[in-house]
Subunit: 97 residues, 5 copies
Amino acid sequence: MCGTVVSNLKSRNLTGVKLLLVQLVDAEGNLLPTYEVAGDTVGAGINEWVLITRGSAARKETGQENRPVDAMVVGIIDTVTVASGMLYSKKDVERMY
Amino acid sequence: MCGTVVSNLKSRNLTGVKLLLVQLVDAEGNLLPTYEVAGDTVGAGINEWVLITRGSAARKETGQENRPVDAMVVGIIDTVTVASGMLYSKKDVERMY
Amino acid sequence: MCGTVVSNLKSRNLTGVKLLLVQLVDAEGNLLPTYEVAGDTVGAGINEWVLITRGSAARKETGQENRPVDAMVVGIIDTVTVASGMLYSKKDVERMY
Amino acid sequence: MCGTVVSNLKSRNLTGVKLLLVQLVDAEGNLLPTYEVAGDTVGAGINEWVLITRGSAARKETGQENRPVDAMVVGIIDTVTVASGMLYSKKDVERMY
Amino acid sequence: MCGTVVSNLKSRNLTGVKLLLVQLVDAEGNLLPTYEVAGDTVGAGINEWVLITRGSAARKETGQENRPVDAMVVGIIDTVTVASGMLYSKKDVERMY
């Protein structure tokens, strides 16, 4: 998650949805030049890795059923583990700052 | 948002939907060679940055439930902010004209 | 719209759906090497520019609710207009023939 | 259609669905290096051109409503015709063997 | 299937969903540099080939209806067979270890 988007003139059903700018990462954690806008339900912060769900799944949260959103941040990632070890750890990244 | 599309012979459920031609931008605000057609619910104007929602989300607005549309402009963007500062500001862009 | 597709052995719910072969165009109207098959609800003809809707939107027309189709031609485009002028006009194209 | 996929340990709602490996073709009928897995409702055979429907449309067939499938073969293509003539004919292809 | 993803701060409806990191393969079985996160309903293990279903199909399993997930592992692949023979066999791969 890397930024926020503000829109005042918008669909009434979007009122109250916090919109995030999200940048994709590859499997090594490198930032990709691909961005998208997603709603937020978990309070994600800058530089955190997040889970995004797209399509009708974005409206499965209680209270989001009628939102005209097609992407939603539904989780903050703590760890990503592969066969060779830990690929990402939120704690380790935060220790770097 | 960069243009409009007019269709007279069309599905009855499309009657009354204003169709916009929208051009995508990258994270630096450069125009990309990718366009799409989307319905409009907010009265977007030429050169404004807009929020598009795709898929079934496009029909979540009141009165749009039965429209055969798969993309809808649901907001006009005022600002896009990232860690290093403001990436886009509608006001600043308008001041340039 | 550039061709038609015929299938006799098919899902019962597809019976009576006219299937078109559609070729995509870029913003300058050049034909792209990308094709798709879509149902037709408007009687589109060869060389006409058409509006396609994808996903669940393709089944929003009356009588199409149970069709196993994921793309539908829902309009014939008359004009596409951008800030610098008219990009496409069905009438002008027809005058060329 | 170019192959089959077998899965024994699977979601209960997938039981009884025949899974095909499908290879995409371009407009000249050349095989593309893009494959996908789709369910089968029409009994497609090796080398036949098929119609695939994706997304929620894949579950529109009677009895498929609760299948966790996102792509389904819903027709076997007999002919594809464009302005300049017939692009594909199932009969002609079969005569070649 | 190549890894797992853990998220503690997440949408309530995601509670109890095991999240997998899945790497795509091409038709020759080579690993592609494309990954995605999907829920698991079948207990997939490292290096197993799996069936993924996307979109609303991901919520067709009993008990998954309200999950904000857009991709779900719904089967472990045993074999993939094409005209020229067997492309993949879970048993043969396991014999290699």
